[in-house]
């Protein structure tokens, strides 16, 4: 049984917090999930290659190195809450 600290740690690695109630909720559901995952783990996949995409046909080819799809600097920062002189602005990193 994983404790709620375990789930809070997982969340923090993904850059968000969980409240105690939320972590407890996940802990409770995790038991059902573990049973479902057991159904998955019990399948014999010896010698089977992972399937990453539905089709393995090639749809990507090298093209000429030409600029084709560019947005302006103004457009690039228009949705940023904090931007200054064409740059995204963040709190001081080196202190």
């Amino acid at each position: 049984m994983k404790d709620i600290a375990y789930f809070k740690k997982l969340a923090n690695q993904l850059m968000f917090d969980l409240s105690d109630d939320e972590a407890l909720d996940i802990q409770n559901e995790f038991e059902t999930l573990q049973e479902q995952l057991h159904l998955l783990e019990s399948i014999d996949t010896e010698g089977v290659e992972p399937m990453v995409y539905p089709f393995e046909d090639e749809t990507v080819y090298l093209r000429e190195d030409e600029v084709t799809h560019v947005i302006s600097q103004e457009d690039a920062i228009v949705n940023a809450k904090n931007a200054t002189e064409g740059h995204f602005r963040v709190p001081k990193v080196v202190k």
Binding site: F7, L10, A11, N12, Q13, L14, M15, F16, D17, L18, E22, D25, I26, E29, T32, L33, E35, Q36, L37, L39, L40, E41, S42, I43, T45, V48, E49, P50, M51, V52, Y53, P54, F55, D57, T59, V60, H69, I71, D75, A76, I77, V78, N79, A80, K81, N82, F88, V90, P91, V93
Partner: protein, 468 residues
């Protein structure tokens, strides 16, 4: 039904439809943003396959200058600077967008209860869910407000709400429609899909939407067929496989009777109908394999939602604090739960045991379905075990075959990438229930023809619960 629209009547139809969209929203909470059609009407082409057709777009479709939230608080202020390819194509065909529709947050749900603007309600019973994640789009078509809506389908997010709302929901072959400009969920499973109230409209719409797009490297080079011209609805000699594992796991007698009565009528029209069983242990692994693949991919895809470059930025004293505060405030509880599961699956010690195992099981499931469709034209099953569940329904046993197989089998369409659609089969306890039809890769022509044959039998073309 698209044929009633044209350039001359576009404005009158658009404004009349907008009033219906507003009415539908009052009743069912199915809209996130309304769109004034004035500028589109001024710039629309005089001809096109969808000339003057009022439509709505799911709110994960990027629309230049129009709020696009993907149903999440973290994107509540996001205004794209570009259009998704499908919106560019729809505009070129003459369609007029009236709204951005409600959806489950970041398309990660099957209920449409998790949108940051609140739950979207079913038009047949407002105590019930619309289904998700494309619920708002489904409801706006089911209520007769519009005749076409865009959705997206990663697990069954078009085909399930289509069943619950009594309309046609199409997920074409993976790669058939460009995904450029759709806010992603799970890249190996995501498809653009759409809703109509007739198979004929569905065929016309695919002619508009399909085709290679160099901006989406997974889009296919295969030529787009004249799907509507090739429609005949002829079931003679069509080989139909009944998904027996689903029928064995379906407990609702009304749904089973409706389905088998329809199969009998299809046989009378010349179809060759047989039951096909897949490995039951593999079928029980569909949902856990989906959960792992989808959530692991989502965890990576949504790492760009950090509040630095765009989004609903929250204050913080460092870059890390800004990210944590933004993501904690911006993501709802279900999303955070799914991300935690994704993170768990991607842990070094779990990657081979869980994530790679899920990808291997995916291949085994796909192999079985492919073998079936090497022999048959289509695979069919009820799209849901019953009508739409109640909003607060927590009664389902998540380890039962009914839940693992019968309620979630349509994920197979995303695993395989094969074309798959739902259309109304009839009513069970006063609620619509759909039938799901899946065909071979890129064989949308056969899928549409079997669907039209079914529509001709049921007589449920243009089924709707119309808003006044």
């Amino acid at each position: 039904m698209f044929e009633k629209y044209n350039y001359e009547n576009a404005a009158a139809n658009a404004y009349a439809a907008l009033e219906k969209v507003k009415k539908s929203h009052e009743l069912y909470n199915d809209v996130i943003t309304f769109v004034d059609p004035k500028e589109q009407l001024e710039n629309m082409p005089k001809e096109g396959k969808m000339c003057g057709v009022p439509i709505v777009l799911k709110d994960n479709v990027n629309t230049k200058g129009v709020l696009t939230t993907a149903g999440s608080r973290i994107l509540a202020n996001y205004v794209p600077v570009y259009d998704a390819t499908i919106w560019t194509k729809l505009k070129a065909a003459g369609a007029i967008n009236l709204a951005k529709a409600s959806m489950d947050e970041l398309a990660m749900g099957g209920t449409n209860l998790t949108c940051f603007t609140g739950p979207c309600l079913n038009p047949y019973d407002t105590n019930r869910m619309a289904g998700g994640s494309s619920g708002g789009s489904a409801v706006l078509v089911a209520s007769g407000a519009v005749d076409f809506a865009i959705g997206s389908d990663t697990g069954d997010s078009v085909r399930k709400p289509a069943s619950f709302c009594g309309i046609v929901g199409v997920k074409p072959t993976y790669g058939r429609i460009s995904r450029y400009g759709i806010i992603p969920y799970s890249s190996s499973l995501d498809h653009v899909g759409y809703f109509t109230r007739s198979v004929e409209d569905a065929a016309v719409a695919l002619e508009v939407l399909a085709g290679r797009d160099d901006k989406d490297m997974t889009s296919s080079y295969k030529p787009v067929e004249p799907y509507s011209e090739l429609l005949n609805g002829d079931l003679t000699g069509k080989k139909v496989a009944i998904f027996k594992n689903v029928m064995d796991a379906t407990k609702n007698e009304g749904t089973s009777k409706l389905f088998f009565d329809l199969m009998k009528k299809m046989e009378e029209k010349g179809a060759i109908v047989k039951e096909v069983s897949f490995d039951d242990e593999l079928m029980k692994a569909i949902l856990p394999a989906y959960y792992l693949i989808a959530n692991c991919e989502a965890t990576a895809n949504h790492s760009n939602l950090d509040g630095i470059r765009f989004g609903n930025t929250q204050e913080g004293n460092s870059v890390e604090e800004i990210m944590i505060n933004t993501r904690t405030y911006g993501f709802g509880p279900l999303i955070r739960k799914r991300f935690v599961i994704g993170s768990y699956g991607l842990f070094v010690e779990n990657q081979e045991k869980l994530f790679r195992q899920a990808q291997k099981v995916r291949r085994l499931i796909v192999n079985q379905v492919k073998a079936c469709l090497d022999e048959f034209d289509v695979l069919v099953a009820p799209a849901s075990t019953s009508g739409a569940p109640l909003l607060n329904d927590n009664s389902r046993d998540q380890l039962s075959n009914e839940y693992l197989i019968a309620e979630n089998h349509m994920v197979i369409g995303n695993f395989t990438g094969y074309p798959s659609m739902t259309l109304p089969m009839g009513m069970v306890d006063g609620l619509p229930v759909g039938i799901n039809v899946t065909s071979k890769a890129f064989d949308e022509v056969t899928m549409f023809n079997v669907a039209l044959g079914i529509e001709n039998i049921t007589g449920l073309k243009d089924l709707k619960k119309e808003v006044a």
